[in-house]
């Protein structure tokens, strides 16, 4: 499920509310560009980065969706979403972009153990 030399980037902040999500995604993209295998874990408000219908903000605030769509080009194809968080946010996978992988809450700690490198945003 995860290679031991992969980098796990955890994304916990929503689009538009701060720059955490964007700067976290930037770190993931740069790591991938350097040839590191990168996996993403979306927790809490971070899950909102995956909403299909999101747009750009007023006054030209950039949308996140184009970056999400770009991940595959960088060979970032593991997008883990905490299933419990999804339920607590009253969201279904239908509202999310394609290609996400659900993970049960009790498997999250195992996912962290399997990655030698972790960055938490």
């Amino acid at each position: 499920m995860a290679t031991p030399d992969a980098l796990l980037v955890i994304l916990r902040h929503a689009p538009h509310s701060s720059n955490w999500l964007r700067e976290g995604l930037d770190a993931a993209l740069v790591a991938a560009a350097f040839g590191q295998p990168v996996h993403l874990l979306f927790m809490g408000q971070g899950i909102m980065a995956l909403l299909k219908e999101q747009g750009s903000g007023a006054l030209g605030q950039k949308a996140t969706l184009p970056t999400i769509d770009m991940l595959e080009m960088y060979d970032i194809d593991k997008l883990w979403v905490a299933e419990g968080a999804l339920q607590r946010m009253h969201l279904s996978t239908d509202s999310l972009v394609d290609g996400v992988s659900l993970i049960e809450d009790q498997e999250i700690s195992g996912l962290l153990q399997q990655h030698a490198k972790i960055l938490n945003f």
Partner: protein, 130 residues
């Protein structure tokens, strides 16, 4: 006509507060009201940085505030104590503190906290964006 004052306490590109404030400002003016002034406090002082350099396809918040000042005579006050500790100063403050550079210039003015209370007194509404 209602007279508004704004208190802005979020930094651009880290908080959506300045964007919300600007969008609200233009809607206020469109409804025929007046904006007497904006007071930048806490991390909001970063809105005044003349060195702010966002990517070219993103709005430069300092320029957007400057435009609001030029087109609608909105006073732009920056709390001096909050600014200095966060690395923002005008030319005269730079001289006072022996620095080679400065990053706050007109139409932004460094001023004391009294200006915030004065703004609250002389406006009908003080709206906080943070």
């Amino acid at each position: 006509m209602i007279k508004y004052g704004f208190l802005v306490m979020g930094a651009p590109y880290s908080s959506p507060a300045p964007h919300s404030a600007l969008r609200f400002a233009h809607a206020v003016l469109a409804r025929g009201h007046q904006i007497a002034g904006v007071f930048f406090y806490h991390d909001g002082v970063h809105n005044a940085s003349s060195l702010m350099t966002p990517p070219q396809d993103e709005l430069n918040l300092r320029e957007a505030w400057t435009e609001l000042n030029q087109q609608h005579a909105v006073q732009l006050d920056v709390c001096i104590a909050a600014a200095l500790r966060r690395g923002l100063m005008s030319e005269s403050e730079a001289q006072r503190h022996g620095r080679q550079a400065f990053n706050i210039a007109l139409p932004f003015e460094l001023t004391g906290l009294g200006q915030l209370l004065e703004l609250q007194q002389r406006t009908d509404r003080l709206i906080t964006f943070a």
